[in-house]
């Protein structure tokens, strides 16, 4: 098992997780053997394009999707082996924020009830205590509880709904939050607000985050380390600054190159990406990126590259990493 984190005893330890599901009579290999660790207090960014399996991985970590094989260790306990009441109890320590903030809220319930729900499920019987906690988190995310608590979700904008979702995820004082594309559906000017808010909440509540997104700049803004995923496997993992300054895996390089830069002097380079990502139903043999990689050769189709340390703290799964 690869020790990818610098610190010992990571809070989250994902060990060779495999998640597959059936589509008709075919199997989608969503996650094919991913191992990663997140240290306490760290933000690990998980980046990749659509279909790479990052959302599935996020949900599998929380056991919202059962893995076919592999383990997820949270604070020393094996989540994959848990069921029923034990798992439900564990859920209070790990939370999830979704991409579509408006769809994440029950359209027929009031905000106050929605944010209080985790407390009720966790068995907090005292109504006054619940109200106090709800007010505390709503204020923390920048919403006035007296105005907001009695309203319905459709009365709020996307950005405000996402704040409410963040409040809901904080009300039980969790230790770990998986953020699944939390700002992708929001406008540019609101995105920055929510990212700042997440950073603030992380510091204030002492959180550890797994931040999933497809936008590299967004991921870099909030992450200590970044993992790049492609078609169910990890391509590269490393500290944010280092990874983006000197990517080792060709796919990371491709992603970086493809980002539109808001600077008219930077002429967009004719992209070297060849073709489209293959389907996760029939992924290529060996290295899954080889069909689009300008550096691919025989070895790449024969042998699956393993994550190896290219630079201190930076790991890439490639037979021909970038210099």
């Amino acid at each position: 098992m690869m020790q990818l984190a610098v610190r010992p005893e990571p809070l989250l330890n994902v060990d060779n997780l495999v998640v597959e599901y059936g589509l008709g009579n075919k199997t989608v290999h969503a996650v094919s053997g991913v191992s990663l660790q997140v240290a306490r207090g760290e933000t690990l960014g998980l980046v990749g394009e659509s279909g790479c399996g990052k959302s599935t991985l996020g949900r599998a970590v929380l056991q919202l999707r059962r893995a076919k094989s592999g383990r997820v260790m949270f604070d020393g306990e094996d989540l994959t082996a848990m069921e029923g009441e034990a798992l439900r109890k564990m859920r209070r320590r790990v939370q999830l924020i979704f991409q579509d903030p408006i769809a994440s809220l029950n359209p027929r319930r009031r905000i106050g009830d929605i944010v209080a729900e985790p407390l009720i499920v966790a068995g907090v019987k005292d109504a006054a205590e619940r109200k106090r906690r709800v007010h505390e988190v709503l204020s923390a995310v920048g919403l006035d509880p007296d105005i907001v608590a009695g309203r319905l979700p459709h009365e709020f904008s996307g950005g405000q709904c996402q704040r409410i979702c963040i409040a809901r995820s904080l009300v039980l004082n969790p230790e770990f939050i998986v953020c699944d594309e939390p700002v992708s559906a929001l406008d540019v000017s609101i995105r920055a607000q929510i990212l700042n808010l997440l950073e603030e909440m992380k510091v204030r509540f002492g959180l550890t985050l797994l931040f999933i997104a497809h936008d590299l700049a967004v991921v870099k803004a909030v992450s200590d380390r970044v993992a790049v995923m492609y078609l169910g496997r990890l391509c590269e993992v490393g500290p944010s600054e280092q990874l983006f300054a000197k990517p080792a895996h060709p796919y990371t390089g491709l992603l970086l190159q493809a980002i539109p830069v808001p600077d008219p002097d930077v002429r967009p380079v004719e992209s070297v990406a060849i073709g489209e990502p293959p389907s996760p139903i029939a992924p290529p043999s060996g290295c899954r990126f080889r069909t689009r990689c300008p550096r691919a050769d025989q070895r790449c189709s024969a042998e699956i590259p393993e994550l190896r340390e290219i630079a201190p703290g930076q790991f890439a799964a490639c037979h021909h990493p970038l210099a």
Partner: protein
């Protein structure tokens, strides 16, 4: 430079809603010459989509449109339905954001492509088919003959968008409006699609309008950029001038709010507080004033009109423009 192909003159669009009258587009003036690209940038609710619909005369029935849209010498607003129908698809083409819904899911790709060609170019079926295959190849779709018989759901998002572009380009349009063409696509596919649009535009000497919320998309690919906020154009300039010397605080704030790859992690982003105004409740003063850090008394009283800056062709609507000497970013 030739006379403008498209001129949008004082266009305003109003929509009645249960909450009141919605000013979607508030007196917009724009022009575009043949072969040039105009980028319209703004966030959701700024009116950019309504504006494109106004140009195409595809507004909802209840909408009220005032102003003129001069295209190739004709006023599209006053044109009769038959003439409009012949212009659309032929001289005026559109590519929408979501390729899943812009292609008919129950018709094959070949049918959709050929029906446009046959309708506007009056070719017979074999000739239309040949042209369809050429078009699919031109937009970079492998094995085009096989694709003709396929349905949209059998193709990926990027491929569907290429097909939508192929349909749009099939009749050699003079103007192509691309409404958020890459927003729903992955970043590597986005780059490919934008390259494709740029290439085709150069080849056909076509005018193009790219509507997007992403300043990065227009930075390298548009000749001129217009920034919209709350239904109005708040700044308009040739692209290099816009980025080098922004005048309108909203443009500056928009650019600053985008996370950049160069910034170190955990740096707080300069966010714009608040939200865009409710379009059913237009403000008396500048729409951006409640969120603007430079706002002063006059900004809340009156709406600034578009004024010229030093660089010709650079217009902005602000009482307190910022002077940015050099560079980009906050």
């Amino acid at each position: 430079m030739s006379a403008p192909l498209l001129t949008i003159e004082d266009v305003a669009v109003e929509l009645p809603t249960p909450r009141g009258n919605l000013r979607a587009v508030d007196h917009v003036d724009l022009s575009l010459a043949a072969g040039r690209t105009l980028g319209i940038v703004g966030e959701s609710g700024c009116g950019k989509t309504m504006l494109s619909r106004a140009v195409l005369q595809l507004l909802p029935k209840k909408a009220k449109l005032t102003g003129r849209v001069m295209f190739d010498g004709e006023d599209l607003v006053r044109l009769n339905a038959e003439r409009l129908r012949r212009l659309r698809g032929r001289d005026l083409a559109v590519v929408f954001q979501d390729p899943m819904t812009s292609l008919n899911p129950v018709l094959t790709i070949g049918t959709q492509l050929m029906e446009t060609i046959q309708e506007h170019l009056e070719l017979d079926a074999p000739a239309a088919r040949k042209r369809s295959i050429e078009l699919l190849a031109a937009v970079g779709i492998p094995a085009p003959e096989q694709r003709l018989a396929q349905y949209p759901h059998q193709c990926s998002g990027g491929m569907r968008q290429r097909i939508a572009i192929a349909i749009a380009l099939s009749c050699e349009p003079k103007l192509l409006i691309a409404d958020e063409p890459t927003t729903a696509l992955d970043v590597t596919i986005q780059a490919q699609i934008l390259d494709l649009l740029a290439r085709e535009q150069r080849r056909r000497h076509m005018a193009m309008i790219i509507i997007t919320h992403d300043l990065g998309v227009v930075a390298g690919r548009a000749d001129e950029v217009a920034v919209m906020y709350a239904g109005r154009v708040v700044e308009r300039a040739p692209t290099p001038a816009l980025f080098k010397r922004m005048h309108m605080p909203y443009t500056e704030a928009l650019l600053a709010a985008i996370p950049k790859l160069e910034t170190a992690p955990h740096t707080p982003l300069p966010a714009i507080s608040g939200r865009p105004p409710d379009p059913t409740r237009p403000l008396r003063g500048c729409s951006f004033a409640p969120r603007c850090r430079y706002a002063a008394g006059r900004c809340h009283e009156a709406k600034p009109e578009l004024k010229s800056a030093e660089v010709p062709g650079h217009l902005y609507a602000c009482f307190h423009p910022i002077q940015m000497a050099e560079g980009i970013g906050a």
